[in-house]
Symmetry: C2
Subunit: 330 residues, 2 copies
Amino acid sequence: MAVTIGSVAKAAGVSVSTVSRALNTPELVNATTRERVVAAADRLGYSPNPAARSLRDGRTETLGLLIPDITNPFFPPIFKAMQERAKRLGYTLLVADSDEREADELETIAAVSKKVDGLVLWASMLSEDRLAELAERMPVVLVNRQVPGVSEVHVSLTDGMAQAAEHLKAYGHQRCVFVDGNGNRPDQSRSKSIRAAFDAHDLSLIEIGPYEARFETGVHAAPLVLAHQATAVLAHNDLVAMGVLHQLAALGAAVPGDVSVVGIDDTLLASVSTPSLTTIRIDPDEIASRAVDLLIGLVHDRPPATPVVQVGSRLIPRGTTGPARRDPQQ
Amino acid sequence: MAVTIGSVAKAAGVSVSTVSRALNTPELVNATTRERVVAAADRLGYSPNPAARSLRDGRTETLGLLIPDITNPFFPPIFKAMQERAKRLGYTLLVADSDEREADELETIAAVSKKVDGLVLWASMLSEDRLAELAERMPVVLVNRQVPGVSEVHVSLTDGMAQAAEHLKAYGHQRCVFVDGNGNRPDQSRSKSIRAAFDAHDLSLIEIGPYEARFETGVHAAPLVLAHQATAVLAHNDLVAMGVLHQLAALGAAVPGDVSVVGIDDTLLASVSTPSLTTIRIDPDEIASRAVDLLIGLVHDRPPATPVVQVGSRLIPRGTTGPARRDPQQ
DNA sequence: GGCAGCATTGCAAACGTTTCTGAAGTATGT
DNA sequence: ACATACTTCAGAAACGTTTGCAATGCTGCC
């Protein structure tokens, strides 16, 4: 029925091993037979059975990507870039959405781990011990999660935050609010880097939260911003920023006339909002390349030069930031 | 090294065939030995090698989903729902993004088809012949693409469009613009269903396009809407609608005061925009369930009762629609 | 002219699983 | 007590591929 290496062998009048060599290690077979073999192969439309190959030499040629929520517009570009790069290197990418639940994450890893050669784990909820143990059994690259001895791609907001602080300072802002949407996740880097950057620029910072990183969080935060008489808001991500924008409009506060708003991630939301959202960009292509290269390195037993690679960020000024209001309303 | 069915057999003091039966067809093995086997199995943490199983009986327990662009916020919820349902039925879901390019689509199908038991093809760019041929070789479910003899999930905009027409009519609108963002894709259903609905409600409809379904398309369309002295716009999807909103604001036209705007898809964009976007909702869960169930049916040699299953739509009135302006400006 | 070495190819094993076939043991009916 | 049927298990084959090993024939060198 299906076209196997055996049918090609018969069609070319050689043994299966010769077919295999002609296709995988051409330099080991005579030029004329090789031609005959490849001719037969693509006349029959042969392509090797991945299950058989995988069984034989323990490779699936597939990488796994585990993310908390594909519905978060930050992730689709990441996925796309990873898929692109993986494809170019001969791999397929298998994404799984853990739905932010720790139990699901474990289950998903169990289901997926046998089907892939390695895993990229994004913002994992798992304990450090579990991650270390998992990394011992198979190639693992962590993103935004630090575990000793495990490779990591770390997104540094330091540069972007510094630029944001400078940007706001230059516009004359003094009191800012940070809406923390980190929920109960282990990674606290957003909160920390903003604190550092704003302290360095001598800007007063009021943190509210942590809440979940949802639109409604921004909606709830908007009146608090006004109550604190702040003139600028930095939100945990673009989605939260959209909530802030929405509710500021409902409360009659102009953006950026009365309040400036800054998001994080530079998702689609930022570019399509009205006015378009000033935000801190994290380059999806760069993260994707780094993570995939790191992981494929591990799969091929090439340990990384440095255990953790940094990816930068930068401010993208758009329409939601402007000069600070001199006389805060009320 | 790895724990195979053989190690479990040795640990339980039985043969490999008994282990296999104890795990797959428990009623065929004695209760006490079965207990011994499963005890050994999860003491060792055994889980079957999918490659071996797949090789043995030609099943991968994986379904493929091919979509034009995961970056379009319409797709992530679809993917999530499909993954959810597939998981519940014992399958893994493998997504691939064809990037809207026909060449990529073919290549991607080739790369993925051997790794899955069946394919869901969303808005395929392939020719009818190719699709028919592909469907002959493996289980295929098409979404929004009609090919004789191939199963299909068809998203009908009829209901949603009728409701939109009625909604606008009730608000006193008479001249409407449809911004077609279908590009050069084969599926013309959006344009057709809107024409039918607006004719039925005796609303005058000006179609512009087709352009690509991008934000910029909406931006370009906005001044044309005003030039046509229309009081309402229906956009190809939410993203295009966002472009319209953005540029209407820039042109000083109030929404919904001067112009009402309606999107399609009810993506995240619609709920987070300011004002929130009136749109036609297509339920991702329903499409996902239908497509997955159909496909798994085909995989199990259960042909569908009807070759094409319809999925409905409905209007979600939100903040961008309101009473028509009596005296169109200018 | 014989022998070492190389190029080229075939044979067979192995990967881990499921399932077909048959054998052994046990219960049932006469 | 013996045939029959059923339960329970072990053995072996098969899925498609890659690769170590061996065999063959040829080249070139002494």
